[in-house]
């Protein structure tokens, strides 16, 4: 049986040649993402702004969004945010909760569900979520903290297992991916909720797999080819691991793509964010996290314990400690 090779043998692409362009692209995309989040804002779900959200499923043809908006507006709970996700028969209707008295808030919750049932008698309300302002504030805070801790914790782990340059590379890469995913949420105005944070954390965890595999190979090659210059060495390491990067990315995209198409539409945004993250991850592990190492002057010395250098022998002592291997 002839086996399929996603990446031909002896592939040797000079990835590092594009490092300036790639870095520029990355900075540009991060800047665009941040600008998008600043200008368009995120469509925060009830988890983070408080309020109530009802999922309405229409058994027959769904009325136009504007009609739904108008009818929900008549219930008298202020402007409603209406969002369609995945399926063409279900929308989520979101309104704010009245300030102040908790009993008022509770009544408003019942009012929204009964109002929707009156306006659309054939529709079914599949799920109801009500989150008070106090709780949503806490969720937003812990969400932000856990995301920051994940990025930092993983970078520190890489620093401990490799060298500080690699930790910085991982940090930059994770920041890049998280920023771009936020950009995706800003562009599409998909609802950003607790699930989205979980998706971000998953992206942070999984996308680093690629980086670690490449870094592990760089470390190995640095020890193996002590005389090789850094750029060819990095190119070699990326090319050697390229087939694995492509294969794993394809497998993950396949699994998540299936989930996006056939899976429950309730987690459409969650899956979409992860799919996007895996896609970006494939790109950035090749073109983003490695060039960082050139600028931070990683060299064969990075993995030679400093104390033993003097004892072990002449060759390493001669090498100047300016890291100028390039």
């Amino acid at each position: 049986m002839r086996l399929l090779k996603l990446v031909p043998d002896d592939t040797n692409i000079d990835f590092l040649r594009w490092r300036k362009l790639a870095s520029f692209m990355s900075f540009f995309l991060v800047a665009v993402s941040i600008a998008l989040v600043a200008v368009k804002g995120l469509n925060l779900g009830v988890d983070f702004v408080g309020g109530q959200s009802v999922r309405v499923e229409f058994t027959q043809a769904m009325p136009p969004i504007d009609e739904i908006r108008e009818k929900v507006g008549e219930i008298g709970l202020g402007e409603a945010t209406i969002q369609q996700f995945g399926s063409d028969k279900a929308v989520s209707i979101r309104t704010a909760l009245p300030e102040g008295d908790k009993a008022v808030a509770e009544r408003a919750g019942q009012q929204l569900v009964s109002g929707i049932q009156k306006a659309f008698p054939t529709a079914k309300t599949g799920s109801v979520e009500t989150v008070s302002g106090k709780v949503s504030g806490e969720l937003l805070r812990t969400g932000a903290i856990s995301l920051a801790l994940a990025i930092l914790g993983i970078s520190i782990y890489i620093w401990i297992r490799f060298e500080w340059q690699f930790g910085v590379g991982a940090l930059g890469r994770l920041f890049h991916e998280v920023a771009l995913t936020f950009g995706l949420f800003a562009v599409t105005q998909m609802q950003f909720d607790l699930n989205s944070v979980a998706a971000l954390l998953t992206i942070v965890g999984y996308s680093l797999n690629d980086t670690i595999v490449v870094y592990d190979r760089i470390r190995e090659n640095l020890k193996k080819y002590r005389k090789m210059e850094i750029i060819p060495l990095l190119n070699l390491s990326i090319n050697e691991t390229l087939s694995r990067t492509v294969m794993t990315t394809v497998a993950m995209l396949l699994a998540l793509g299936v989930l996006l198409i056939f899976g429950p539409d309730v987690i459409f945004g969650f899956t979409a964010a992860m799919l996007f993250g895996v896609f970006i991850g494939g790109y950035s592990s090749v073109l983003m996290s490695t060039p960082v190492l050139v600028w931070l002057k990683v060299g064969p010395d990075s993995f030679v314990p400093r104390t033993s250098a003097g004892i072990m022998g002449g060759e390493r002592v001669e090498r100047k400690d300016d890291g100028a291997v390039v």
Binding site: E106, L149, A198
Partner: protein
């Protein structure tokens, strides 16, 4: 590579076998599952977003609790200043003030100050581990006693109130006849209630939000109430408003502050009908309560008493004769449902603190069922696609990886069943993701074997190196995933916790199956077939 010890093979096979055995009960229909012996009744639970149901987060109204604590202390002060041996022993006090977390009062005779303080000290108790007492007593200006509720006193009160509240909520939810509710405390002042399979959470919310503090108090005949509110409120009495729709237009009643009998002395409460055939609640007092009730009603014939629920008067009937036997009927504008709810609330006891619903998430069972079906379909298609991909790319080694992947699926389910873990909708996504990521370890190994072969190594050596060199990256990569999953578990609510659990279990099992199990297969094949070239 070739020496794969027998004990290792045996233990791997045993763990795989156990994995399959533990996974089976989850797939059995409920009927068959119930017939299994107890030790085998292990299955993966479905989260509320899949099974349908309600998740409610209740928060205690701490300010309300503080107020109650202060007013209770005021009562204690008044009682303890009254002498035990008679009027000679009384300590005259006045100018009672309460604000924030302090109460203060004037002791008229300065010589009695120390005595007053000693009496009050006996009423306080140690709180917490710091040796602090729950109330701090000070003498100010040589005439006033100031009592301040300490932080540890307050924390202790909150803790006790929350524990009692949890028990009461537990009783109430169970009375509703729901299956397997979860009621746990969260943080210092919150309770999480999860009830699977409930269609309408409104009844549940009404029931949980109700304090159900029932009091029978005498109506003060000297008090007068006008259409707009209280007109004359004698000392020792207070104005209490009527509940909505009660009182025939009267705004409220002037009631004695003293409680004749309270809901604590109930032994039973049932929904019933009154003489007009309207829904009502019949209650029965315990023997001490019955005696008090008989005595007080006997002494107050032709006067009126009021039934007060949560600070609102329900009705204020006239006592025609002494009520013996400890039975009473509470009437008001009830429907059968509300009367039933009140009966449940009264039976389970009154909440020591007011609870507000600060978060609610409800999913109908239909939506949950739909999610499971779509999730299962997506999971199967995703798995099959990945299996095919592995097969066409790695051939024989892909088959080994695929067998390992199948075992991985069983092991994840088995471990989740063993720990009674909960599968949520994001958990299904985690499952699918794990399928995609689980093959990563095999991809790493197989790619490494390809490379080593390309470098001209012999088959055995290439395979050996493939496993040993790839292991390092596999380990590091999985540690980062565990870090992310741990943080998700820390911050997430139910569904996301479920996702983190699946992810973590998946990480551990996939390393086991992808590295150890495939290694066993490959070693066996190399030993028996002794190939000189391999197609990978």
């Amino acid at each position: 590579m070739l020496d794969f010890p027998r004990w290792k093979t045996i233990s791997i096979c045993i763990s795989l076998l156990l994995g399959i055995l533990f996974a089976i009960p989850t797939f059995l229909p409920q009927k068959t599952f119930d017939q299994l012996p107890g030790f085998a009744q292990m299955k993966v639970n479905l989260g509320l977003d899949l099974a349908g149901g309600s998740h409610l987060l209740l928060e205690a109204d701490i300010a309300d609790l503080n107020k109650t604590q202060l007013s209770n202390m005021e009562k204690t002060v008044r009682v303890s200043m009254r002498g035990e041996t008679g009027p000679d022993d009384d300590i005259a006090i006045g100018d009672f003030k309460a604000s924030g977390s302090t109460i203060s009062f004037l002791v008229r005779d300065q010589n009695q100050l120390d005595d007053a303080r000693d009496r009050l000290f006996r009423e306080t108790a140690g709180a917490g581990l710091t040796g602090q007492r729950d109330w701090q007593i000070e003498i100010v200006d040589t005439t006033r006693i100031v009592m301040t509720l300490t932080a540890s006193g307050r924390d202790q009160a909150v803790d006790r109130a929350m524990e009692t509240a949890r028990e009461i909520i537990d009783k109430r939810v169970n009375e509703l006849g729901t299956r397997e509710p979860t009621i746990i405390r969260e943080g210092s002042d919150r309770i999480v209630v999860q009830v699977p399979g409930l269609q309408d959470p409104k009844a549940l919310k009404d029931l949980l939000g109700r304090t159900a503090r029932l009091e029978f108090r005498m109506v003060d005949p000297n008090g007068t109430v006008g259409a707009g509110g209280p007109v004359n409120v004698p000392i020792g009495s207070e104005f209490v408003p009527y509940a909505p729709n009660e009182g025939n237009g009267a705004p409220g009643e002037i009631l004695s502050r003293q409680v004749m009998i309270s809901g604590d002395q109930l032994i039973d409460a049932r929904q019933d009908f009154n003489q007009q055939q309207l829904p009502a609640v019949s209650i029965r007092f315990d023997s001490a309560g019955s005696n008090t009730f008989a005595r007080v009603t006997g002494a107050n014939v032709n006067k009126r008493f009021a039934m007060v629920l949560d600070g609102q008067v329900l009705s204020a009937p006239t006592i025609n004769e002494a009520i013996l036997g400890g039975q009473a009927q509470i009437s008001g504008s009830f429907t059968v449902q509300t009367a039933n709810e009140l009966a449940i609330a009264l039976r389970s006891g009154s909440l020591p603190v007011k609870l507000d619903v600060v978060e609610e998430r409800t999913v109908t069972p239909e939506l949950g069922k739909d999610s499971i079906e779509k999730g299962a379909v997506a999971g199967i298609i995703a798995t099959v696609s990945v299996l095919v991909l592995m097969l066409v790319v790695y051939g024989r080694f892909g088959v080994y990886a695929n067998i390992a992947l199948a075992f991985n699926v069983f092991l994840i389910i088995a471990i989740m069943a063993f720990f009674n873990a909960t599968l949520t909708l994001p958990g299904i996504a985690g499952f699918v993701l794990t399928i995609g990521a689980a093959v990563d370890a095999n991809v790493l190994i197989n790619e490494r074997i390809r490379e080593e072969l390309k470098r001209g190594r012999r088959v055995f050596q290439a395979v050996e190196l493939g496993y040993s060199e790839a292991s390092r990256a596999i380990f590091d990569a999985n540690v980062t995933n565990v870090i992310a999953a741990a943080l998700m578990f820390w911050f997430g609510t139910g569904p996301i916790k479920g996702f983190a659990v699946v992810l973590t279990i998946g990480i551990v099992t996939s390393v086991f199956t992808a590295v150890t199990v495939t290694r066993m297969f490959v070693a066996h094949w190399l030993r028996t077939a002794r190939p000189t070239t391999i197609n990978i």
